[in-house]
């Protein structure tokens, strides 16, 4: 009895340290243009959502929508990047790149600009540069000179040009190349380096932490000198010297099929998977989702020893299939296949309305 009580208290303490949320979910019924939401981007009190059928802006409790008729290059919005200096929004779509600036849309396509391909999977802003991942290589737009640089198999070690995600920082830029591992661009030397799965393109993991977990990379997140990578077969963390890999069988990942990883720093990251949203704090994991079988709200906590606890919760993200996240102070916004979810953080000692 004593042992059981102790275990219970330990689990409770473990769970309490991990973020708890009250989830508020939005669908077409609340004004979204589509329930299939690929991406979210927070801009202060405002939230942008990229859907399969247009762009949406959440402001003052209401969703406003934007379509191709408003100036989007395509209805399917795959990625969003906010220029935090100007509050311009860069919008990656299935039909080109769009910039939204204070009510105005500017289109960049492969016919009208130096964009290498109209299927734009990812966009990111670093200073005056906009970095882009397309189905035909990466690109960089210098917004001051308007020069386009294209990165593909002719000028990088990229043997597969299907770039899926880009994460730039002041010193390095990383591309997730779908089926081609990871590319690293050294800003200072302008040299490229590739990182690949030492096991090749197989789904085998012969040596777990020997290198990148898999060639089919879907997302990269480079924060404070640490690279995080998401693949369809697990996740990786690289500190410039050592790799550490995460699989559902030996971590708190709810699935090895990952759409996005977004790191807060070298030890904390969020993973958007097909079976829920996962958080890792360096030791423990939490998964947030409607339960796969019952669809009841679920929060699972995996402690450092591997013990898994189901924490009672009253709400969950809109769906277990998640595409990506962004942060709003302590809160989190999640793009799912059945709407947008706002995770309102429960702060101990604070009451939530």
């Amino acid at each position: 009895m004593k042992t059981a009580l102790l275990l219970s208290l330990t689990l409770t303490a473990t769970a309490a340290d991990l973020p708890h949320f009250r989830w508020q979910n939005f669908t077409v019924e609340n004004g979204l243009p589509d329930n299939r939401v690929y991406c979210v981007a927070v801009d202060g009190d405002k939230v942008w959502a990229g859907t399969d059928n247009g762009l949406a802006l959440y402001e003052a409790g209401k969703w406003k929508t934007f379509s191709v008729a408003d100036g989007l290059t395509h209805r399917a919005v795959l990625s969003l990047a906010l220029d935090k200096r100007t509050h311009d929004l860069w919008i990656a779509t299935m039909g080109g790149l769009t910039r939204y600036s204070a009510g105005r849309f500017d289109a960049y396509t492969q016919l009208t600009s130096g964009l290498p391909n109209d299927v734009v999977y990812s966009v990111a802003v670093q200073g005056d540069f906009v970095w882009i991942a397309t189905a035909a290589g990466g690109a960089r737009l210098n917004t001051r000179t308007r020069q386009w640089n294209i990165y593909n198999e002719r000028n990088t070690p990229m043997y597969e040009i299907w770039t899926y995600s880009v994460s730039p920082a002041e010193d390095k830029v990383y591309y997730a190349v779908w089926g081609g591992g990871i590319l690293e661009f050294d800003v200072k030397t302008e040299r490229w380096k590739d990182y690949n799965d030492p096991d090749g393109e197989t789904e085998l993991v012969l040596f777990k932490d020997q290198g990148l977990i898999h060639e089919i990379t879907t997302s990269v997140s480079y924060v404070k000198g640490i690279l995080w990578a998401a693949t369809y077969f697990g996740a990786s963390r690289y500190d410039g010297r050592n790799w550490r890999n995460f699989l559902d069988k030996d971590s708190g990942l709810p699935s090895n099929f990952l759409n996005q990883v977004k790191a807060l720093d070298g030890d904390h990251a969020w993973f958007s998977t097909d079976k829920g949203l996962a958080y890792y704090d360096g030791e423990r994991w939490a998964t947030y989702r409607p339960a796969l079988e019952t669809h009841a709200p679920e929060m699972l906590v995996r402690d450092r020893e591997g013990g898994v606890t189901r924490v009672p919760v009253e709400s969950a993200p809109a769906y277990h299939y998640t595409f990506g996240v962004d942060f709003q102070g302590n809160d989190i916004w999640v793009a799912t296949a059945k709407g947008v979810s706002h995770g309102i953080r429960n702060i101990p000692g604070e009451t939530n309305p």
């Binding site: 200096r85 100007t86 509050h87 311009d88 910039r99 600036s101 204070a102 009510g103 105005r104 500017d106 492969q110 016919l111 009208t112 600009s113 130096g114 290498p116 391909n117 005056d128 035909a136 917004t143 001051r144 000179t145 020069q147 386009w148 640089n149 294209i150 593909n152 002719r154 000028n155």
Partner: protein, 606 residues
């Protein structure tokens, strides 16, 4: 005393001066005692004593200065050097340049923010606004503006900054021009609003009411979609004011025109502090309009306001007087007490002083400059004058803004059926590029600018005899703006080098030869990149009389979108990605996208 000595030295220097001053922009000290005059022709700023009307001193700045801002305490001036891409910071007491600050491409208008720590500079060729951090002296951030960002006005408290644009956005082929006034929240240094101006292109100076709730912008409303045959109906240019702001709840465009007597090219604007009068310089018809501000606003608020935009009788409601001033009046500046209005007469090298109570010019400040005027200068006055067109409706400079272009395509011919739509080409570097017109139909500029202009454009009188020769002198002398994409010392970036190799190639990537006439450098050759021949490059339309197109010069081609003879290509890329399917306009279909980007990087350097 020191200022007086500076002034005397300045006067001595001016006596032997060989450069026209070309006063363009004005600023005045808070006490009204000093008027500062930016002289784009002589690369200097003059300090004028408004009591004695004497030039007290000058400061040499960068090339072709265009805009000036003054700190509230009057100690510092900031002047945009449009050809150097810098801003000069000037000690106003010493008239000494203290430092040069970086800006974007062709900085033009300038204003200070509410904190007086950030300068906002409109960059005409980079289509953005520099937010220059005065403490660090850096071009800290760029805000997206419209095309041809040129003039900047701040609200009295500096909290809001407005930017206007001389070129309309590059839109779809044969669509009405659209421009914007970009409103910046200076507290957050972000664009907070874009005031869209439909059917407008060529937006110049703006003025705000003291409380910031009303704004006026001088603007052109080009009627480029209808044939120029309708000059006599007033359907070439509408000379207008855009009225905007909270009090209006949007924007309304109010005409300044009178039937058969147009105040052409409205340029500078001022609003009296008591909000009883507004003033507008008409730089083509050499006058200043005085408007009853209350009646203007009443008309703008009236239910009929939207349809007044093209009503040539509407201006009678609010235009009180038209005061003749010097040649090509540009910006205007009210004295702080509102009793005087100073007018920069760019092509007279003078400042007209209007007594606002009498609505008349009462004195003139002579800035210096060579006399008698040379042929080029006389021609420049003709170029900017609307006196030759029907009803003084427009002059050459209406379309060739500051000697360049207007970013639009026009239906110039008298057929009235949309035959031969033409893109407006820049006049820079035109000297050795005869013949002229897109079909090469005019063998020289005398033909282009003489009988043709009279018959097809002005429908009134044309340039003849000595006037014509003077005009041609000026056009041939229009300077080529510095290219922003060339590296110092003639070096090239790797992309430019690769692009040059593509431009110069004689064989395709598969090793087969490119026919001689399809090699880029065969037609685009010589110092201006034209062989002056006419060629069918496959871009002719059924509505064109001939598929033969005069090979255009490529100097500064990067600036002059849209492209092709009819302006159907919105970007350089579209010339080849859309309009060259059969490789008639050079062989480009074997190029990869990155190679096409390289070619364009090279073309930007021409």
């Amino acid at each position: 005393m020191r200022l007086l000595i500076c002034g005397l030295l300045s006067l001595l220097a001016m006596a032997g001066g060989t450069r026209y001053k070309s006063p363009d922009d004005l600023a005045i000290s808070a006490d009204g005692k000093r008027l500062y005059v930016v002289c784009s022709g002589s690369d200097e700023v003059l300090a004028v004593d408004t009591g004695s009307l004497v030039v007290l001193g000058s400061a040499h700045v960068g090339r072709v200065p265009r805009g000036v801002a003054i700190t509230p305490d009057g100690t510092r001036l900031y002047v945009t050097n449009s050809w150097d891409d810098t801003v000069s910071e000037i000690d106003a007491a010493l008239m000494k340049v203290m430092r040069k600050l970086p800006a974007g491409m062709e900085p033009t208008g300038i204003a200070l923010d509410s904190s007086r720590r950030v300068l906002y500079v409109a960059n005409r060729l980079s289509d953005d606004v520099s937010a220059i951090d005065l403490a660090g002296g850096t071009d800290a951030r760029r805000l997206v503006s419209g095309r041809g960002a040129s003039y900047v006005t701040a609200s009295a408290d500096g909290a809001h900054v407005y930017v206007s644009h001389i070129y309309p956005e590059v839109g779809k082929f044969r669509t009405a021009p659209i421009s914007e006034i970009t409103e910046i929240d200076s507290g957050h240094q972000v664009v907070e609003k874009r005031i869209v101006l439909k059917n407008a292109g060529g937006i110049f100076h703006m003025a705000l009411s003291r409380d910031g709730r009303l704004g006026l912008a001088a603007e052109l409303r080009p009627k480029n979609l209808i044939p120029l045959a309708h000059v006599e109906h007033g359907w070439v240019f509408g000379n207008s004011l855009a009225v905007f702001g909270e009090e209006i709840g949007g924007v309304v465009q109010m005409p300044l025109d009178e039937i058969e007597n147009y105040p052409s090219m409205p340029f500078g604007v001022a609003i009296s502090t008591d909000q009883t009068r507004a003033y507008v310089s008409a730089s083509g018809s050499n006058e200043v309009l005085i408007l009853d501000f209350a009646k203007l606003i009443a008309a703008a608020r009236s239910p009929q306001a939207a349809r007044l935009a093209n009503d040539l009788s509407a201006s009678a409601r609010y235009v009180l007087a038209r005061v003749p001033v010097g040649q090509n009046p540009r910006n205007i500046q009210l004295s702080p007490d509102g009793k005087k209005l100073y007018v920069a007469n760019r092509l007279d090298d003078t400042i007209s002083v209007i007594d606002t109570a009498r609505s008349a010019v009462t004195s003139k400040i002579v800035l210096g400059g060579p006399t008698p005027l040379a042929a080029e200068r006389r021609g420049e006055a003709l170029f900017y004058s609307s006196a030759f067109s029907f009803g003084h409706q427009f002059g050459c400079a209406n379309c060739h803004l500051d000697g360049t272009f207007d970013g639009m395509s026009w239906d110039l011919e008298p057929d009235g059926f949309g035959i031969d739509i033409v893109d407006n080409r820049s006049l820079e570097d035109l000297k050795n590029t005869a013949p002229f017109k897109w079909n090469g139909g005019n063998p020289d500029l005398q033909t282009e600018c003489g009988p043709r202009t009279e018959r097809f454009f002005f429908r009134s009188q044309g340039f003849r005899g000595n006037d014509l020769e003077d005009l041609v002198h000026f056009i041939k002398a229009i300077p080529l703006r510095p290219n922003r994409y060339r590296l110092p010392g003639g070096e090239m970036t790797p992309a430019q080098e690769r692009g040059q190799a593509i431009f110069s190639r004689t064989i395709k990537k598969d090793g087969t030869p490119i026919p001689y006439q399809l090699q880029c450098f065969v037609c685009h050759t010589g110092p201006s990149y034209t062989n002056t021949a006419s060629v069918d490059v496959g871009t002719g339309r059924a509505s064109d009389r001939s598929p033969l197109i005069d090979t255009p010069q490529l100097t500064n081609v990067v600036n002059s979108a849209p492209y092709l003879h009819d302006g159907s290509a919105r970007t350089l890329e579209e010339i080849w990605t859309v309009f060259n399917p059969e490789d008639k306009h050079g062989v480009t279909n074997d190029l990869t996208k990155d190679e096409l980007n390289d070619l364009i990087e090279f073309l930007k350097t021409l």
